[in-house]
Amino acid sequence: MSCALLLLLMSLALAMGTGAAVEIQRPRGVPLSKRQFYEENKPFTCLDGSSTIPFDRVNDDYCDCRDGSDEPGTAACPNGSFHCTNAGFRPAFIPSSRINDGICDCCDTTDEYNSGATCQNTCREMGRKERESLQIMAEITKEGFLLKQQLIHEAKRGQEDKQGKLTELQGSKKGLEEKVEALRTVKETAEDPEKEAKERHLKAWEEQKELLRMEKDKTRMAEAFLELDDDADGYVSVAELQSHLELDPDSDGSLSETETQGLLGGADKVDTSTFETVWSGIKDKYLSEVSQGQSEPPAPVETPQEESRDFVSDHDSDHYPEDYAGEEEEDVEDDEEDDHDEEEEEEKVPPTVQTPEKREDDEVSMPPYDTETQSLIDAAQKARDDFDEAERALREVDDQMKNLEKEIGFDFGPSAEFAYLYSQCYELSTSEYIYRLCPFNRVSQKPKFGGSETNLGLWGQWAGPEGNLYSVMKYDHGQGCWQGPNRSTTVKLTCGKETVVTSTSEPSRCEYLMEFTTPAVCQEPASLDEVLHGHTEL
C-alpha cells in the first residue's frame, strides 16, 4: 500500500522533470504572463495575497491558496485553472478539475501527465485544420463583406429611391387632395339642380298616380255596386251584401243582419251615391265575385343556396407527425378553434334568402325623365364619377406612401444592409417539411406530403446579444401549442456569400431555431495573418 503511494509520488516527480524540460522554466500550468510570480526557491505569495507559503508547496497537490494559485498544475484547488501552451495551436486555460481526469483536454497532452490516459499531441493537426477553416471563413467573410458593401450601396440607393418616391408622392398627394376638393364642389353644384329636377319629376308622377288610383277605385266601386245589386234595383240591400262573408267585422264566420246594416251605415239599402261612403269601408276586404274561387298561384319561395356555401376548413392544419397521448386533446382544441372560425365565417356570409320584390300587377312604371332632367342627371353623374376617380387615386397614393413609410421605418440594420431581404422568402426542404422564412414578415412550416401551413411566428424584433443585436431575429406569436406557448422561431444569422436557410430544428417543443446565412452580417475581415497568429503564444 505504501508502495503504491511511493510510486505515485515518484511518477509525479518524473512528470515534473520532463514537463520542465519542454517548457520555459516555470511551474506546470502557469502561463508565461504569470511566470514572474512563481520564482523558484522564494516563498510564494498567493496571487490574491491571502497568504505566503514555501515554494515547495506550489504544485504539491494540496490547495493552500484560497484563489487556487498555488496549484496551477494539479487538480487540488476547486477554483484553479491550468494553462496549456498548445504549441502549434491556440493556448488555453482549462479548469483544474480537468487535470489528470483521464480525458485529453489540451491538444499538447500536458493536462494528462499522471492519469494513465494516452493522449496524442494533436496541436499541429488542429492548428492546420483551424488555419484551413479560418482561411475558408476569411475568404467567405471577404467576399461576403464585399457583397455587403454592395447591399449597403443598393439599400442606400433603394432607400433614396423610396425617399424620393415618397416625396414625389407627397407632392402628387397634395395635388390630388386639391383636385378631390375641387371635384367635390363641382359634384355638389351639379347635384343640387339634379335633385330638384328629380323631385319635381317624382312629384308629378305621384300626382298622376293618385289620379289614376282614384279613377280605378271608382271603376271598381261601380263594378261592385253592379255585382252586389243582384236585383238591379239601383240599391244594394242588406241581404245582397250578406253573402260577402269576407266582410264579417268580428270574423266569426257569419255576417249578421245587424253587422251588415252597420256596414251600410245603418241603412237597409243604399243607392249609388250613398254606396260611395259604404265602399270606402269595405273596399279593402271586398272580394270580387268574379275573381272569388279562382285561387292565385303561391309566390315562389326561394330555397337558401346551401350547396353553394363554401367553408374554408383547415382541420388538418395542426397535426404533428407523431402521435402522442396528449395529442388527442390538442386536436380537440384545434378542432374547437376551427369550429369557432367556421361560425365566424358563417356570420360573415350574407343572407342568401332573397325576398322577391313586391310588385303590384297594376303598378305602372314611372315614365322616363324628360330631357331636361335627364341632362341634369347626366351632368351630376359625371361629376360624381370624376370625384370618385380622384378620391380613389388619392387613396392609392396614401397606401403607397404608407407602405413606403413602413419599409423606410423598418430597422434594416446599421447600414440598412438587411433591406434586400424585405419582401423576399427563403425555403429549406427537410425530409418532412418545407420551412419558409420571409424576413421581416413571418416563418412557416408546410408538410411536404399534404396538409396546411403552420405559422411558426411573425416578425418580432432583432434579438442578438448586446453589441451584436443584428445577429439574431426573433419571430413570435405563431400558432398556439397544446399546454405550451405560441410557436416562435429564433433565426441565427451567420456570414455567408449566399442568402440561404441552412438548417432548422425544434430544440424545445414549438420553439424553432433556424440558421440563415447572409452577406449582410459579414464583418470587415481582419487580415488573415492577424486571425491566425494574433493570439498565439510562442
Partner: protein, 895 residues
C-alpha cells in the same frame, strides 16, 4: 337484470367517491369489478368471525403447524399454515382446503424463507399456544371464533381476525340462477369464470398510533386513517397527472406496512400481487391532543390501537409478521425475505440529465458540451422514446441517431454514460424482429380467447410480452447482448417505463384483468408485471458483460422485491412546489420497505417550473438517492444553464455538493445492499423513542449522520428544522456552526443552499475535487469531515471498491475501514482484496480545540508532524495533507 344492478352500484360509487376511475362507460364493467370487490368486502363490518379452528385437524412438524378452519355459515373449509421464521418472523398462510382449482401464490418474490423450530406449549379445547422462541414470545391460536394473537409476556403485540374480518370468497362453479345473483351484492360472476375470489384479514395493533409504508401513494409518511374515505389502493397504474395527499393507486405497489411506537417496531408483509386495498382505523385518530392528555391524566381510557384491514381481489392469504423489535431489525427481517437493494454502479448515484426528448445525436453532443462549458458535472444522459425507430424498442431512429456507437463513444471519451428507454409494449409490426420473435415463440400475454392480447400504447397497436414466463425473461435478457441490441455499448444502460403495464385503451389505462399469463389471469398477478420486466432487463445487462458488471435499470412499476433490480422513480410528477414537497414522504415510504434507490423527477415532469422551484428542486434532489432531472416533451428546455449565470451557479453548486458527497452515498448504498438498511430515513428510525419525530416528513436523514431539511416553500426565507437527540450536537455542513440536539431550530435560508447537518460523533468521507463525472474522480483523494460529539468522540467508515463490477462480492475486492477519532483506524473486513491509489488529502475536525501538535503515525513506525489550521470562531481544525493511502492503517494523535 344484471345490467341494472351494476349500473346502479356504479352510479352510487361515482357519487360518493373519488376520481380514480375515469367516468368512461367503456370501462364500467372492469371498474365495477374493482369497486365491487372492495365494496363487498368493506360492507363486512367488524363482529364475531364465522370461522372456527378445527383443533382435531392440527398437525405439527418441527417447523410448521397446519390446522383446518371452517366457516360455520357455509361450511367451507380453509387450511391454515403457521411457520416461525428465522430472525423473529411468523408466517401465516390461509388457503382453501380444497379449492376448485389452485389459487395463485406469488412466486419469485421471496429469496429466502427459512423456517425454524416451532413448539407447542399447551393445547386445550379452546386453542393452542405455540412458543416463538426466546423473548417469551408466543402465539395463541383461539379456536372459536378463530383468531391469532402474538404475545410478548403479557402484552399483545398483534392480533389477527380479532375483529372477525377474515373473509375468503371460495371458488365456485357458476350458477345462473336468479336466487344466486340476488344473494351477492355485486355480480362478480360476470367477470370471472369461478366467481369472485377475494380475501381479507384484519390486524389489530395495540399500543400503536403510527403506521407507515404500503407505497406507492402520493401521501404523507404517516399513513392516515381511512374511515369514511377510500382505502389505500395498491394496483399498478399509469396515472395521468396524479393528485397529492390521496390514497389512490399509483405506478407501484409494495404490500408492506410498518408499525411503530416508542416501544416497538413491527412489520406486516401481505404477499399478494392482486389488486389490494388497505383500510386503517385508529381509536385515537379523532382525539385532540387535549383529549389524549385528559385520558392520560385520568389514567382511564383504552390504550391507543390501530386496526388494519387488508383486502385482495384474488390469491391466498400469505402474511409475514416481522416482530422487530427495532426498526433496524424489521429492515433486516424484510431483507431476509425479499432481498436487499441492488448495489448500483457508483456513477448511477451521480447526476442524471434526462428529457423527453434529446432530439438527435447533435442535441446529445450539444448538451454534453453545455455541461462542460458551464462546468457542471453529470454522469448519465438519457434518451426517451423518440430515440427509437417508430417506438420499436431496441432500435434507433435512422435519421436522428444514425451512428449510436459514435455517440456512445463520444460519451465514453468523457467517461460518461447513457440510458435508453426500453418499454415492455411491443409494436405489432411484422417487419419488427422483436415482435416476430415474441409472436413466433408464443411469448405474448394472451387474451381470454387464446389470441395474443393487444392494446394501444406509444407505438400504436402493441403486444405485451409475458414477463411472468421464465423462458420469455431469458429471451428478453438475451436481447441486451451487444450483438443483439445494435448500437449498444457497455456505457449504455436501461430504463423500463410504462411497465404497470400501461395500455392506453385498457380499463384504467392498464391491462384487462382477464388477460392470461399462462394459466393465470392478470387479476392474480397484476402488481408483479413491472417487477418481472425490470428483473429480466437487469439480468440482460448482467449477462451482456459476462456477469462482470453491475446493471443499472430504472423502473416505474414495482412490487416487493423490486429493490433487487435497480432504481425506481415517482413517475410523472408536476412542476409544482407541492410535488417537490411530496417527493420526501414518497421516497421515505419506499425506503422503509426496501427500495432505497428512489427519486423524483427534478424540476417536475409536467408543466414548466419557475426558476426558483427548479433551483430548490436541484438542491433537494442532490440529497435524495436517485438524482435525475426530467421534463415533458411539451415543456421549454431547462438544462441548468438556461436561466442566467446566477441560477446556473446555484444549480452547479447543488450538483457539486452531490458529487463531493458521493463516497458517503456509495457507502450508504453498500449498507443498503449488505443489510437492507434504508439510505434515506425518517428521523424516527434513528430516534425511535422520540415521539416528536414520528410524523415528520419535511426533513430526513441520510444514513444516520446527515440530516437534510429541504426548502420547499416558494420564497422561503427560513425553515424550522428539528434536530433530534438529547445531549447530541449537529454541525451545519455549510458554516460548521454547532447546534444542540432535541430542539426545533429556525434557520434563515437564502437561495444559495438548503440546511444540511452532520451529526456530532460521525466521520463523513468526501471528495473535494469535483470533476465532470464521477468516473473522473475515481482515484481522487478523500477529505474526512470529523464532527465531534460532546464527549469528543467520532466514528465513521470508508468503503472503496472498483465502483462498477461484482468483484466486491465475488472476490471480496473492496476496502471497508472503520475510522474513529483519536483511535487507531481499523480495517472492517480483513479479508478484502483491493488496492486504491486514493489517499487522505485533508482532515477537517468540527468542534475541535486547538492542539499544540498533530502527529501522523503509519504502520511502518514512522511519525510525521502534520501542519494544521485552527479556526477559533467555529472551532474547526484542519489537518494538512496526511497523505496516507486510503487503504492502510494510520493514526493521528493530537496533543
Amino acid at each position: 337484470m344484471f345490467g341494472m344492478l351494476w349500473i346502479d352500484v356504479y352510479d352510487m360509487y361515482m357519487c360518493s367517491s373519488s376520481h380514480q376511475y375515469p367516468p368512461d362507460q367503456l370501462y364500467a364493467k372492469e371498474i365495477m369489478f374493482t369497486i365491487c370487490t372492495s365494496m363487498r368486502q368493506r360492507a363486512l363490518k367488524p363482529g364475531q368471525s364465522p370461522y372456527r379452528a378445527l383443533l382435531e385437524t392440527l398437525e405439527l412438524t418441527n417447523t410448521k403447524l397446519t390446522l383446518q378452519l371452517i366457516n360455520d355459515n357455509n361450511k367451507v373449509r380453509l387450511l391454515l399454515e403457521l411457520y416461525r421464521l428465522q430472525g423473529n418472523m411468523t408466517r401465516v398462510k390461509i388457503n382453501e382446503l380444497k379449492p376448485l382449482k389452485p389459487r395463485f401464490e406469488v412466486p419469485d418474490v421471496l429469496i429466502n424463507n427459512p423456517p425454524t423450530d416451532l413448539s407447542l406449549l399447551s393445547q386445550d379445547e379452546n386453542g393452542v399456544v405455540l412458543s416463538l422462541g426466546a423473548d417469551s414470545q408466543w402465539l395463541i391460536v383461539s379456536a372459536k371464533p378463530f383468531r391469532l394473537d402474538i404475545m410478548e409476556g403479557r402484552e399483545v403485540l398483534l392480533s389477527l381476525n380479532s375483529r372477525g374480518l377474515l373473509a375468503f370468497e371460495h371458488l365456485r362453479i357458476r350458477k345462473d340462477t336468479a336466487e344466486w345473483v340476488l344473494n351477492v351484492v355485486c355480480p362478480g360472476w360476470l367477470f370471472s369464470p369461478t366467481g369472485p375470489s377475494s380475501i381479507s384479514l384484519d390486524f389489530s395493533l395495540p399500543g400503536v398510533e403510527h403506521v407507515y409504508g404500503i407505497p406507492e401513494h402520493a401521501d404523507s409518511l404517516k399513513l392516515k386513517t381511512t374511515d369514511g374515505g377510500d382505502p389505500y389502493r395498491l394496483f399498478n397504474l399509469d396515472v395521468f397527472q396524479y393528485e397529492l395527499f390521496n390514497p389512490m393507486a399509483l405506478y407501484g405497489a409494495i404490500p408492506v406496512m410498518l408499525s411503530h411506537s416508542a416501544q416497538r417496531t413491527m412489520g406486516i408483509f401481505w404477499l399478494n400481487a392482486a389488486e389490494t386495498w388497505v383500510d386503517i382505523s385508529s381509536n385515537t385518530a379523532g382525539k385532540t391532543v387535549f383529549g389524549q392528555m385528559l385520558d392520560y391524566v385520568q389514567g382511564s381510557s383504552e390504550t391507543p390501537q390501530t386496526d388494519v384491514r387488508w383486502i385482495s381481489e384474488s390469491g391466498i392469504i400469505d402474511v409475514f409478521i416481522m416482530l422487530g423489535p427495532t426498526p433496524t431489525d424489521v429492515f433486516s427481517q424484510y431483507a431476509s425475505l425479499t432481498g436487499t437493494q441492488a448495489f448500483p454502479p457508483l456513477s448511477a448515484l451521480a447526476y442524471h440529465q434526462c428529457r423527453w426528448n434529446y432530439n438527435d445525436q447533435e442535441d446529445v453532443a450539444a448538451v454534453d458540451q453545455g455541461f462542460d462549458e458551464h462546468d457542471i458535472p453529470y454522469d448519465f444522459i438519457w434518451l426517451d422514446i423518440e430515440h427509437t425507430d417508430g417506438k420499436r424498442y431496441f432500435t434507433w431512429d435512422p435519421h436522428k441517431f444514425p451512428q449510436p456507437k459514435d455517440m456512445l463513444q463520444g460519451l465514453m471519451d468523457k467517461r460518461r454514460k447513457m440510458v435508453t428507454i426500453v418499454d415492455p409494449h411491443i409494436k405489432v409490426d411484422s417487419s419488427y424482429k422483436i415482435h416476430n420473435e415474441i409472436r413466433s415463440k408464443g411469448f405474448y400475454v394472451k387474451n381470454k380467447d387464446g389470441g395474443d392480447y393487444e392494446g394501444w400504447c406509444w407505438p400504436g397497436n402493441s403486444g405485451y410480452p409475458d414477463f411472468t414466463n421464465p423462458e420469455m425473461r431469458a429471451w428478453w435478457a438475451s436481447m441486451f447482448a451487444y450483438d443483439q441490441y445494435e448500437g449498444s455499448m457497455e456505457n449504455m444502460y436501461t430504463w423500463n417505463d410504462m411497465n404497470e403495464p400501461s395500455v392506453f385503451n385498457g380499463p384504467e389505462v392498464t391491462m384487462h384483468k382477464d388477460a392470461l399469463h399462462g394459466n393465470w389471469e392478470n387479476r392474480d398477478l397484476h402488481n408483479l408485471y413491472g417487477l418481472y420486466v425490470q428483473m429480466a432487463t437487469a439480468e440482460g445487462l448482467i449477462e451482456r458483460s459476462g456477469g462482470v458488471e453491475r446493471p443499472f435499470v430504472l423502473t416505474r412499476a414495482f412490487f416487493a422485491g423490486s429493490q433487487r433490480y435497480g432504481a425506481v422513480w415517482t413517475g410523472d410528477n408536476t412542476a409544482e412546489w407541492e410535488h417537490l414537497k411530496i417527493s420526501i414522504p414518497m421516497c421515505l415510504s419506499l425506503g422503509l420497505v426496501g427500495v432505497s434507490f428512489c427519486g423524483a423527477d427534478v424540476g417536475g415532469f409536467f408543466k414548466s417550473p419557475s426558476t426558483e422551484l427548479l433551483v430548490r428542486w436541484y438542491q433537494t434532489g442532490a440529497y435524495q438517492p436517485f438524482f435525475r432531472a426530467h421534463a415533458h416533451l411539451d415543456t421549454p428546455r431547462r438544462e441548468p444553464w438556461l436561466f442566467g449565470p446566477e441560477n446556473t451557479a446555484l444549480i452547479r453548486e447543488a450538483v457539486r455538493q452531490r458529487y463531493a458527497l458521493l463516497p458517503y452515498w456509495y457507502q450508504l448504498f453498500y449498507h443498503a445492499h449488505h443489510s437492507g438498511q434504508p439510505v434515506m430515513r425518517p428521523l424516527w428510525v434513528e430516534y425511535p423513542q422520540d415521539t416528536a419525530t414520528f410524523s415528520m416528513d419535511d426533513q430526513f436523514l441520510l444514513g444516520e449522520d446527515l440530516l437534510v431539511h429541504p426548502v420547499t416553500e416558494e420564497g422561503g426565507r427560513g425553515v424550522t428544522a428539528y434536530l433530534p437527540g438529547k445531549g447530541e450536537v449537529w454541525f451545519d455542513v455549510h458554516t460548521f456552526q454547532k447546534h444542540n440536539g432535541a430542539q426545533n431550530l429556525y434557520i434563515p435560508v437564502t437561495i444559495s443552499s438548503i440546511p444540511v447537518f452532520q451529526r456530532g460523533g460521525s466521520i463523513i468521507p468526501r471528495k473535494a475535487r469535483v470533476r465532470r463525472s464521477s468516473s473522473c474522480m475515481e482515484h481522487d483523494p478523500y477529505t474526512l469531515f470529523v464532527a465531534l460529539s460532546p464527549k469528543r468522540f467520532a466514528q465513521g467508515e470508508l468503503y472503496i471498491d472498483d465502483g462498477h463490477t461484482f468483484n466486491f462480492d465475488k472476490q471480496k475486492q473492496f476496502i471497508h475501514r472503520r475510522l474513529s477519532f483519536a483511535n487507531k483506524a481499523l480495517n472492517l473486513a480483513p479479508g478484502s482484496q483491493f488496492i486504491t491509489p486514493s489517499w487522505i488529502e485533508k482532515i477537517v475536525i468540527l468542534g475541535a480545540s486547538k492542539p499544540s501538535k498533530a502527529t501522523l503515525k503509519t504502520p511502518d513506525g514512522k511519525e510525521n508532524l502534520l501542519e494544521f489550521e485552527f479556526d477559533a470562531s467555529m472551532s474547526v481544525l484542519t489537518l494538512r495533507k496526511p497523505g496516507v493511502n486510503a487503504g492502510v492503517d494510520w493514526t493521528v494523535v493530537l496533543q
